[in-house]
């Protein structure tokens, strides 16, 4: 049988026979910190910007502790730096918030205790599980995409004398590429893609979770009248004192998307001021960016191994971006780098060609705004277009396409926007622009690959950002920055804001 059918058969079978276990991890220092933070959350006033920020940063720290299998004092967690920053922010609370001050100080104290400890309970438990099940292969999935390199090295060290093939997967675990004997999720199953449970990749799947994060069952995705049995979660609970329990969703970091509403300044052309759909994305290092969410939008990503090797540049549909990926962005200057390099390649012709591009796009956008895309599509068909549809009309008006694939479509548009007599000239001009964009894309890719081979990238991985300075001739700096969180929402923003990095206050 083919490997494809084999894999599908195994996945179908595993979905029925796979075992799901919750193994609770107890740690006194974690329990004290969680309890102190819960007290603080109860003590602080609601809708207070100062406390919202403090609590959000502490929750982020709690999530990193819950989700990262590294020692508490590991530099990659950066607890000391976070504590110093928090203590600085809280230096005046005795006068401003005397009622909340004790709870805040207790939380900081508990966290400082943790920051001095070298325990790594998660890695120790992974080792115990390997001893228990003796798998030949194991996948460890961590929801946190921070500290990945450090986490892998600690897990590798913990399993040093175990004959087991290990793979560490970061993010939501949407696509675990191979079947494994054992899969261990750090944290509750609900932190991960439903695919981990619904299309399991291992016969034994374990959620290794601090006892404070509550999960008593698995989500039920059965259709009505299903004959499939409900999936059971076998729980190996910690015995002992009562716990401050937190729901899985509540334990996830709370990202503030307030920066999306921040007004932007800077000169823009009329075309740049177009409204576009965009998705807010939080990046490593306290950065954020709005990515294009229009149909057919694409993004450049960099695939990395944790040792910085085997890096591959890949252009993906924008909707496929997920946490943990490295997004390639222009970090020096701004705007569309491809467009800028294409313009340099075009030399003196660039301004004229861009004006022609703006002219017909502007005309088409005007018609869409006044009549709607569907009506424009009908009119274009009447004028001889072969592929006009509401969706295509919107795509043609956007920036992704410089001209249509079929000349008949372009001719219909030109006729609609009053440029029918110049269709040949515009068709050729847009063809020239299209070729320049393609050459620019190839050039950037080549420069980036060259820069990658000469950059000591690995050392920067922990920060979640790799910078590449491109050749002098073209100039500029590109960075590959790890995606930490994607907003569920899509917002309408001015086009000039898309792709621009913003500094945000996220711990």
């Amino acid at each position: 049988m083919s490997s494809g059918l084999d894999l599908a058969t195994a996945t179908n079978r595993l979905s029925e026979v796979a075992l799901f276990r919750r193994v609770e991890v107890a740690n006194d220092s974690i329990a004290s910190f969680v309890s102190a933070l819960s007290n603080l959350e109860r003590a602080v006033p609601k809708d207070d910007e100062f406390w919202d920020t403090v609590v959000r940063r502490l929750r982020r720290t709690r999530f990193d502790l819950f989700s990262t299998p590294v020692p508490f004092n590991d530099p990659s967690l950066g607890l000391v730096a976070r504590l110093d920053s928090l203590e600085s922010d809280l230096s005046t609370i005795d006068s401003g918030y005397p009622e909340q001050a004790p709870a805040a100080r207790d939380t900081i104290f508990r966290l400082r205790v943790l920051a001095g400890q070298s325990e790594n309970p998660m890695a120790e438990h992974v080792r115990r599980l390997v001893g228990e099940y003796e798998p030949l292969s194991i996948a460890v999935v961590t929801r946190s995409t921070r500290s990945a390199r450090s986490a892998e090295s600690h897990i590798v060290a913990a399993l040093e004398d175990c004959p087991v093939a290990l793979s560490l997967i970061q993010g939501l675990g949407e696509s675990v590429p191979f079947l494994r004997d054992l899969l261990v999720c750090i944290g509750p199953f609900r932190w991960y893609s439903p695919a981990l449970v619904e299309a399991p990749n291992a016969p034994i799947n374990i959620s290794l979770c601090y006892a404070q994060v509550r999960e008593t069952d698995l989500p039920d995705y059965r259709l009505p009248r299903s004959t499939r049995p409900l999936r059971q979660l076998l729980i190996q609970a910690v015995q002992g004192a009562s716990l401050d329990l937190i729901d899985p969703q509540e334990a996830l970091p709370q990202v503030s998307w307030a920066w999306v509403d921040r007004p932007e300044s800077g000169g823009r052309t009329e075309v740049e001021d177009e409204e576009r759909l965009a998705r807010p994305v939080l990046l490593a290092g306290g950065l954020a960016v709005l990515i294009d969410a229009e149909p057919a939008a694409s993004l450049l990503t960099l695939e990395l191994n944790t040792d910085g090797a085997a890096r591959v540049l890949r252009r993906i549909p924008a909707e496929e971006l997920v946490e943990g990926m490295f997004l390639v962005l222009r970090t020096e200057g701004g705007g569309d780098f491809v467009e800028e390099i294409a313009d340099r390649l075009l030399g003196d012709n660039a301004a004229r060609l861009r004006e022609m591009q703006r002219e017909w796009k502007r005309g088409l956008v005007r018609h869409i705004r006044s009549d709607g895309a569907a009506a424009v599509a009908s009119e274009l068909i009447r004028r001889g277009s072969e592929r006009a549809s509401a969706g295509n009309v919107r795509r043609w008006a956007g920036d992704e396409l410089l001209r249509t694939e079929l000349r008949s479509d372009f001719q219909a548009i030109m006729s609609l926007v009053g440029l029918g007599e110049s269709v040949d000239e515009y068709w050729r001009a847009m063809g020239t622009l299209h070729s320049a964009h393609q050459r620019a894309g190839v050039l950037i890719r080549r420069m980036l690959l060259r820069a990658m081979t000469t950059t000591g990238a690995a050392s920067d991985l922990a920060s979640g950002r790799l910078d590449f300075t491109l050749e002098d001739q073209m100039g500029g700096q590109l960075s590959a920055v790890r995606v930490e969180s994607l907003a569920d929402m899509v917002v309408s923003v001015q086009k000039s804001r898309i792709g621009r990095l913003t500094v945000v206050d996220e711990a």
Partner: protein, 392 residues
């Protein structure tokens, strides 16, 4: 419903509603029922204004009445792919039947092909690998006879008769293909014939033989001659008594697959499958059966087509008999086709699975009725519901 059951020569104005016929099939099932029992059960299901049962009998060949006046389902002669026909080969070349989940998906396709009405069939699976191509294979094989039986032959005759005079066609004579030009229809002694001009001779092709005639999709450098032998030998055991050459040389859009273009393309061209003929296994690709239009080229004949999720389908190939929404994303972004039943494949590892399931549950909560069809095999992780949507 257009498609396999619309070519019975009866005006759609006079026909009983397809959904009503589907309900009747559900009611009767494997039983034999008196007309009174049929009418009572229809009333219990809220169908008060059913047409006269005699009218139904007159307009549908799905039911038969025995000597005692009791109704039962008339079994149709559809081709059904057997577990012992389609399988795979081990590396050593030994025969391996399809696993349960794959066989079930084939049967979803063949059952869908003979189930009337504008139903929605939702299948939720751990993985969508090969699901769309297997369902399409079951559907296309079950309808392969269309055009081959006298009833279907009449439908094919009508399609050919509607061609403009002067249309280029090919005629299959045994293994050989001959070019000809369509020159209208002639009636002699009450029998209708296609009039075809082939070189210097005029040929009259009767209804029963018209399956050997195929319009050429392009007049420019159309190919004639021998058809790919590999496809034919692979198809022969799958199609049972339907002649592969006739099957391969007619186009009819049975399945439109929306979504997963790259995967479907790879899976349909995967040469891992094999058809068992006697004791000989013939390796082949499911594309030989489902004949996806965008993969067969300008000259090829098709039975299916494939579009990306959310992509507008321009119906220049005609209205499909069934739409397969391949994936949660495809279901969420689906376009509706009037009077075309749909199969939704929701992979539980699909990114939009939760959104799609929530849409399914909303549609299901407002359904007009359920359809009882084959049950998924145990231990495969497959779920399904089949129902009539209220909005359709």
């Amino acid at each position: 419903m257009t498609g396999p059951t619309s070519d019975d020569g009866v005006s759609t104005v006079d026909k009983p509603d397809d959904d009503l016929l589907a309900r009747l099939e559900t009611i009767i099932g494997r039983r034999r029922l008196s007309p009174q029992a049929v009418a009572t059960e229809l009333r219990h299901r809220g169908v008060d204004s059913a047409p006269n049962l005699e009218t139904i009998l007159a307009h549908s060949n799905r039911f038969r009445v025995d000597a005692n006046g009791r109704w039962s389902i008339q079994e149709t002669p559809e081709v059904k792919v057997s577990r012992r026909t389609l399988g795979t080969l081990s590396p050593s070349g030994s025969w391996i039947p399809l696993p349960d989940w794959a066989q079930f998906l084939l049967e979803v396709g063949s059952t869908a092909a003979r189930t009337r009405g504008t139903w929605s069939w939702v299948v939720s699976l751990p993985t969508r690998s090969y699901a769309a191509v297997l369902i399409a294979t079951g559907f296309v094989i079950a309808t392969a006879r269309e055009g081959g039986s006298s009833r279907g032959g009449a439908a094919w005759f009508r399609q050919l008769a509607a061609l403009p005079k002067g249309t280029s066609v090919t005629i299959r004579d045994g293994e050989r293909l001959t070019k000809a030009v369509f020159d209208g229809v002639r009636t002699e002694n009450g029998n209708k014939y296609l009039v075809l001009q082939a070189r210097s001779e005029t040929r009259l092709i009767p209804v029963g033989e018209c399956v050997r005639v195929t319009p050429r999709r392009s007049t420019a450098s159309a190919s004639t001659g021998t058809i790919r032998l590999a496809d034919r030998t692979f198809l022969k055991p799958l199609l049972n008594r339907v002649e592969p050459l006739d099957f391969m040389r007619r186009s009819k859009l049975q399945c439109l697959i929306c979504g997963g273009v790259n995967d479907v393309r790879a899976e349909s061209l995967d040469a891992t499958f094999a058809a068992l003929s006697g004791s000989t296994a013939i390796r082949g690709r499911l594309q030989s059966v489902i004949r996806i239009a965008r993969l067969v080229g300008q000259q090829g004949h098709f039975r299916s087509d494939l579009v990306a999720a959310g992509e507008t389908y321009d119906d220049n190939l005609g209205q499909p008999a069934v739409v397969i929404h391949n994936g949660a994303d495809a279901y969420v972004r689906r376009a509706r086709f009037d009077n075309v039943p749909e199969i939704a494949l929701i992979g539980r590892s699909d990114r939009q699975m939760e959104t799609a399931l929530s849409l399914v549950l909303t549609a299901y909560s407002q359904r007009r009725g359920d359809l009882q069809v084959l049950a998924p095999p145990p231990s495969t992780g497959i779920d399904q519901i089949v129902f009539f949507e209220d909005s359709r």
